[in-house]
């Protein structure tokens, strides 16, 4: 974001990758991809590839974190060093610590944590390849992985971003649009609960643009939700 450039992001109503403003990139979701995790999921949104693993509910260590009333959800968002053009220094940094926190807060409201008191649920999100919208891909994957782990939830969480490039509101920004655009707004949404569990914004929108972006993003999450549903059902229906 921010860096103004000469790159034209929209020509004749088409975006740089040929999409219409309210079009998602091709999305692929698969549940149960890891043998040793209790639950797992793989999500591809265009050039962004994320994998999520869930372990638990299990005994929580260190013991002082234990909550006698409910389970403790811990999330870790991490980018592989090879996921971006310039090698990312491995390990947590300011950005991934923040994303881990907002991811946890996006998932916590839908999990029946009180059913698993005194335990810990660990969610690990690994970004294998990055092309914009990694936190939303991570949340989408984590939510499917939690369901796959057999953890009781009120709803799934689907996430998607909307933004502004060349003064046009667009859905699901790719890496270039994110870098050279004017705004980016990731949203996580629980469709059956009708609740937004994450809303961040970077850049600037007018009030009307915000309304349109929100509408686009909610519409996008609903489409992603259908794919999450399909992925979970495919896991068991395929071999019947």
């Amino acid at each position: 974001m921010g860096k103004s450039s000469d790159i034209k992001l929209i020509t004749d109503g088409k975006r740089i990758d040929g999409r219409k403003p309210n079009e998602l990139r091709p999305v692929k979701i698969k549940a149960g991809v890891l043998e040793r995790a209790d639950g797992s999921a793989y999500v591809e949104v265009g050039g962004t590839h994320a994998i999520a693993a869930v372990y638990g509910p299990r005994t929580l260590h260190p013991r002082h974190l234990v909550n006698a009333q409910k389970a403790v959800l811990r999330t870790k968002y991490d980018m592989a060093p090879f996921s971006v053009d310039d090698r990312k220094r491995p390990g947590p940094d300011r950005r991934s610590i923040e994303i881990s926190k907002v991811t946890r807060e996006a998932l916590e409201p839908v999990i029946f944590l009180e059913q698993y008191k005194k335990t810990g649920i660990d969610v690990f999100i690994e970004i294998l390849q990055s092309d914009g919208g990694t936190r939303v891909a991570g949340i989408t994957a984590a939510s499917v992985a939690l369901a796959d782990a057999g953890i009781a939830m009120r709803d799934l969480v689907a996430a998607c971003a909307a933004g502004k490039v060349d003064d046009t509101v667009v859905l699901d920004l790719c890496g270039k649009e994110d870098n050279f655009g004017q705004a980016d707004m990731p949203i996580a949404y629980a469709p059956n609960e009708d609740k937004i569990t994450l809303l961040q914004m970077d850049g600037d929108f007018t009030e009307e643009e915000f309304e349109t972006a929100l509408k686009y993003a909610l519409d996008g999450t609903k489409r992603i939700y259908e794919l999450q549903k399909k992925a979970l059902k495919e896991r068991y229906e395929k071999n019947e």
Binding site: T59, K118, T119, A147, G150, A190, N192, K233, E240
Partner: protein, 251 residues
């Protein structure tokens, strides 16, 4: 009273199941008048009762469950037991054996760390301490044989309706088999390998129909071919000859 899902239909968390005056079982929750699923699983409803059978997940202890535990620690007056669950089991001295335990007796002579026991859950406290007992008919220390772990959600399939599946496994392989509700299966006998493979088959295909026939077919093939190459010299077992009909008829 209105249902939106058929029996045995696959549902995901948050899917609307029914509307009206239902009695809710595991894996469901109510919001106003509507009933939703909270798990990934299969719908199971009978008359006014509705629940979701989970397809994955950890073992959650309930009173009267029969479980296979591994002793992990010995304290002054109790043993800690790993239950393949987020919660640990406790066998206190008073529930350890039928006989009287002398003051100052070496507890590791009774159950040592690493021992495998067939125990029963007596209570699960508010603070999730799982009380176990060994003082019931057919509860004992498992000395020989092999222990395998399966997903606890597949246990009802391994047991079968009224225990038909284990019964078939036992008669066909001639093995002693004990299935714990916590997903541990103890198998002892000459054809243990075939029995283990059969249990793994059940675990893999738990959600499909006609499972009993598949397992039967598999065992017939397996036992037919292994009968000639059966050179495994297993020592004659001296496991307590207590009858082992404690597979808990939970469907």
């Amino acid at each position: 009273m209105k249902t939106y899902k058929q029996n045995r239909e696959l549902v995901i968390p948050g899917e609307l199941l029914a509307e009206g005056d239902y009695l809710l079982g595991e894996g469901t929750f109510r919001k106003e008048d509507k009933v939703y699923s909270s798990l990934l699983g299969l719908v199971d409803s009978k008359e006014r009762f509705i629940k979701v059978i989970p397809l994955s997940g950890k073992y959650m202890p309930h009173p009267r469950d029969l479980v296979i535990g591994v002793i992990t620690d010995i304290a002054f007056s109790n043993w800690s037991v790993d239950l393949n669950s987020p919660y640990t089991g406790i066998i206190s001295i008073s529930n350890a054996t039928e006989r009287y335990i002398e003051n100052g007796e070496d507890l590791s002579k009774i159950y040592n760390i690493g021992d495998v026991v067939l125990a029963k859950v007596i209570d699960v406290s508010q603070s999730m301490v799982v009380g176990l007992t060994m003082k019931d008919r057919g509860l004992f220390k498992l000395r020989e044989g092999r222990l395998i772990t399966i997903s606890p959600t597949k246990v009802p399939r391994v047991i079968g309706k009224q225990g038909t599946m284990v019964q078939m496994l036992k008669t066909m392989t001639g093995c002693k088999i004990v299935v714990g509700q916590n997903g541990r299966v103890w198998i002892d006998g000459k054809n243990a390998n075939a029995a283990i493979e059969a249990v793994r088959l059940i675990e893999r295909e738990a959600h499909t129909s006609g499972l009993t026939d598949k397992v039967k077919e598999f065992l017939e093939k397996e036992l037919g071919s292994s009968a000639s190459s059966n050179t495994s010299k297993l020592k004659p077992k001296k496991v307590e000859e207590k009858e082992e009909e404690k597979t808990d008829g939970k469907e």
